[in-house]
Amino acid sequence: MTEFLIRVIITAIIALVYFGILLLHVAYATYFERKVIGHIQMRLGPMVVGPHGLLQPIADMVKLVFKEDVIPSQVDRVIFRIAPLISLVAAMTTFSVIPVNQGWYIGDINVGLLFVLGIAGLGTYGLILAGWSSNSKYAFLGGLRSAAQMISYEVSLGLSIVGVILLAESFNLTEIVQKQQQYWHGMFLIPQFVAYFIFIVAMFAETNRVPFDLPEAESELVAGYFVEYSGMRFGLFYLSEYLAMFCMSALATICFWGGWTIPPVLLKAWPWLGNIPGIVWFLLKVYFHIFLFYWIRGTLPRYRYDQLMLIGWKVLVPLALLNIVVTSIIKYIF
């Protein structure tokens, strides 16, 4: 019994540390985004608070925390308060099974991949409930759109990963990474490039980022599902969006880029690369994906709603199914 308690306490401490690191990451992910978008538009981004604006995210956080928490009189109070928590908890929980290095995880479960996808899907409830309980037309439209978008793109997201699961013969995230080491290239990106493309597109739609940011389209729905939110409740939505981005980038890294490992070819050519800790490679790969989010945000306009549905159902789902069929046949033959 005491052994169990000690394990619970240790896990809780690890989870808290993890939580703190993730919060800090989100703060600086916003800074990174503003810098990247700024330089894409030939601006400088935040420059005044601290050297090169490095303290800007902290100033923003302090501002959010101290802002007045306004709850409009016509809202459904209970759901209005729970909604941001649902999306935040869903976004945080996914990180409990994501390994960032060999053996660095909070929980190692056999169906890690399914767990991440399932919990990430739960986050949609937060958005829909926020849109519904706000009792505002813009928020409601945003919530509806997010529901439709999530359902459409979760299908292609799940189907795109099936190819990886077929090759890895496991749902466990650590095992998926280890299986990729059997190849000379060390990543499923090369045999599964179609799946990777589908995953990337679905990833953008799942996290409500440009070019699929219809639920929070600022030019038509003001802010979409969180129009009525202010202060830290808005901050929680913001937080969960960036955490979802980080989670999806981590998933793409683990499933397609070989996680914390580097291709055996490179390791053979330059053996000293093996001395660099795995978390460095993991973070580099994750930040490449996060940069991809910002890069595409700085480039593409928003898709129309019918285009969104067309891409989801007429392009990505058939492509993903085709990918599964081809992968299975090749796997069966060899």
């Binding site: 330089h39 894409i40 030939m42």
Partner: protein, 204 residues
């Protein structure tokens, strides 16, 4: 759709072109001028805060109370009152309402003695409208403040000799107007010239 178009769409050629473009601007230098810390160069002919030239010879303004500026002002924001005291015209009140000014610089062009000037100083936001009504003392103070920050040794405003008008039609004082010495060698030269003039007049 031709085959080429379909291929372009399938390979997302246009999206990749766009991404390439944004990557190019991402690594290129930003064009931002960080305003309060660094300032853009002000070009000659800029029309900013109003001031009255403090004549380095006399230490006073050069206004003769001819009312030309008040007459020419399209916004009618200049008020001049004058009185005849001991057979001499004396300006008793001179006011420019900068909050109504349209910065056409007609007053500067019209002034026969080059006493008025719209300086290159553009940072003079204030908290109340009263502070934007400049009387003579304030206008002279504006000039002193402006001169302190002016980087060169002399100052000459483009509108003192109105461009687009035949120089022969300028008043004689305007034709003879030279850059006003502010500091350094130019000022000492001017002082010496004034001294010599005084000596000459004293001797004669």
């Amino acid at each position: 759709m031709t085959g080429k178009e379909i291929l372009n769409k399938a390979l997302m050629v246009e999206i990749l072109k766009g991404l390439n473009q944004t990557l190019k601007t991402l690594v290129s230098k930003a064009v931002t001028i960080q305003y309060p810390f660094e300032k853009r160069k002000v070009w000659p002919g800029f029309r900013g805060k109003h001031a009255m030239v403090r004549d380095p010879k006399t230490g006073k303004d050069k206004c003769i109370g001819c009312m030309t500026c008040a007459r020419v002002c399209p916004a009618q924001c200049i008020t001049v009152k004058r009185e005849k005291i001991e057979n001499k015209m004396v300006v008793t009140e001179y006011k420019i309402d900068a909050s109504r000014c349209i910065f056409c610089a007609y007053c500067v062009e019209a002034c026969p003695t080059c006493a008025l000037v719209l300086t290159e100083n553009y940072e003079y936001s204030v908290y109340s409208r009263d502070e934007l009504i400049f009387d003579k003392e304030l206008l002279l103070k504006n000039w002193d403040d402006f001169v302190q920050r002016w980087p060169e040794d002399t100052y000459f405003n483009k509108f003192w000799q109105p461009p687009g008008i035949d120089p022969k039609r300028w008043p004689k004082t305007k034709q003879e107007q030279k850059p006003i010495p502010l500091r350094g060698a130019a000022l000492t030269e001017q002082k010496e010239a004034v001294k010599e003039e005084k000596d000459e007049t004293g001797n004669s």
